[in-house]
Symmetry: C2
Subunit: 215 residues, 2 copies
């Protein structure tokens, strides 16, 4: 058995389209790293609440942060489990029948119970890893965090244990008898693209050369 590609539990096993489900660690890491943000689901008062959230990865753990007074904290104080889903939309897949229309995408779901980073030094190191992960070398150039700012920042993490990836790539797959149907079929790729940097209106002269490099 290829344990690297087996579902860690029946809960995180991909049920629909199992051929699209992959559990390899490198695939899961690559999608988490490529997605600029994720959606985290909490159960609050018995109801699902899905919040867009910035995340980052350190080794086999996924981190996120928020305001120490947020709803997330309320939920997590109750020891609540979360589902962290990070998805990248790669394009529309247009088939000859409505039924075989699809999308190309990459998505990861991670289940777990988040833990808070409480030690101020560890918290600062985690936040530095977040900033430097996106913008290498930036943390050391920033105005250092105050004790108050660190206190107001909640850093959460959970191990990437119960996780799966699901993805689709490639052209539409039509019924053989539909291939001659007189309609355009193919993929309309879509992707996240960076635009031109917009310096802050109050940026001091001479700093425009210092544009950070994005990972």
């Amino acid at each position: 058995m290829d344990t690297e590609n087996s579902a860690p539990s029946s809960f995180s096993r991909v049920r629909r389209m199992p051929k699209r489900g992959v559990y390899r660690r490198e695939t899961i890491h690559a999608i988490l790293d490529a997605a600029p943000f994720c959606h985290i689901g909490h159960v609050i008062g018995g109801r699902p609440v899905v919040i867009p959230t910035l995340h980052w990865r350190e080794g086999d753990a996924v981190y996120w942060h928020g305001n120490a007074a947020s709803r997330m904290l309320e939920a997590n104080e109750a020891g609540g489990e979360v589902c962290l889903t990070a998805s990248l939309f790669d394009g529309w897949v247009l088939a000859r029948s409505g039924f075989h229309h699809s999308v190309n995408y990459r998505s990861v779901m991670c289940f777990g119970t988040p833990r808070a980073v409480t030690d101020p030094a560890e918290k600062e190191a985690a936040l530095a890893g977040f900033i430097d992960g996106r913008f290498p070398g930036r943390w050391a150039r920033l105005r250092p965090p105050t004790r108050q700012e660190l206190k107001a920042t909640l850093v959460l993490w959970m191990p990437i244990e119960e996780a799966s990836a699901k993805l689709r790539a490639g052209p539409p797959i039509d019924e053989p008898e539909d291939l001659a149907w007189p309609v355009w079929a193919g993929v309309l790729p879509v992707g996240l693209v960076a635009g031109a940097a917009e310096p802050a209106p109050d940026l001091k002269p001479g700093l425009n050369e210092e544009l950070p490099v994005t990972r």
Copy 2:
């Protein structure tokens, strides 16, 4: 009181950064229409499950679809409530301090209990609205759906009642005393951009001129 901009219930009221919360119907509709997909949170066996899902809007209702044998159906058969969150990432906001780093984004959260469209004719009309909403006029050109395909397709909807939008735009907002800090600050815009269409390898000659127009 501006009822168009008041939270419909305390549950959907934006708790963090309330100044970023907007409840105007046009704003909520525009974000739902701009996002190519959303994330839907279900509670399954007491645990949150967040699934990336294609959605579309018809008037004051949001629709989505899936395989009739999916986990979503299991959850919804139990009358389960969902949280549908659609988010667009617009860019990184780089400040002089880590604390004031942020992102520009537009996001909508809709709460409700989905209902299924069971009538086959209504289901077909809903799916036509989905395809034509993204690719005007395409539905009539497709191979029509079979009874079997319609049966295998679950169409769900809920009214956009308990919903809120949250967004951020514009440059970083730093502490006044940090403005002279010697580091680049500003916005690195990011957006979903369409690439060149990729015709299906088995596309019959002569159909390449028929490339669909995206809304």
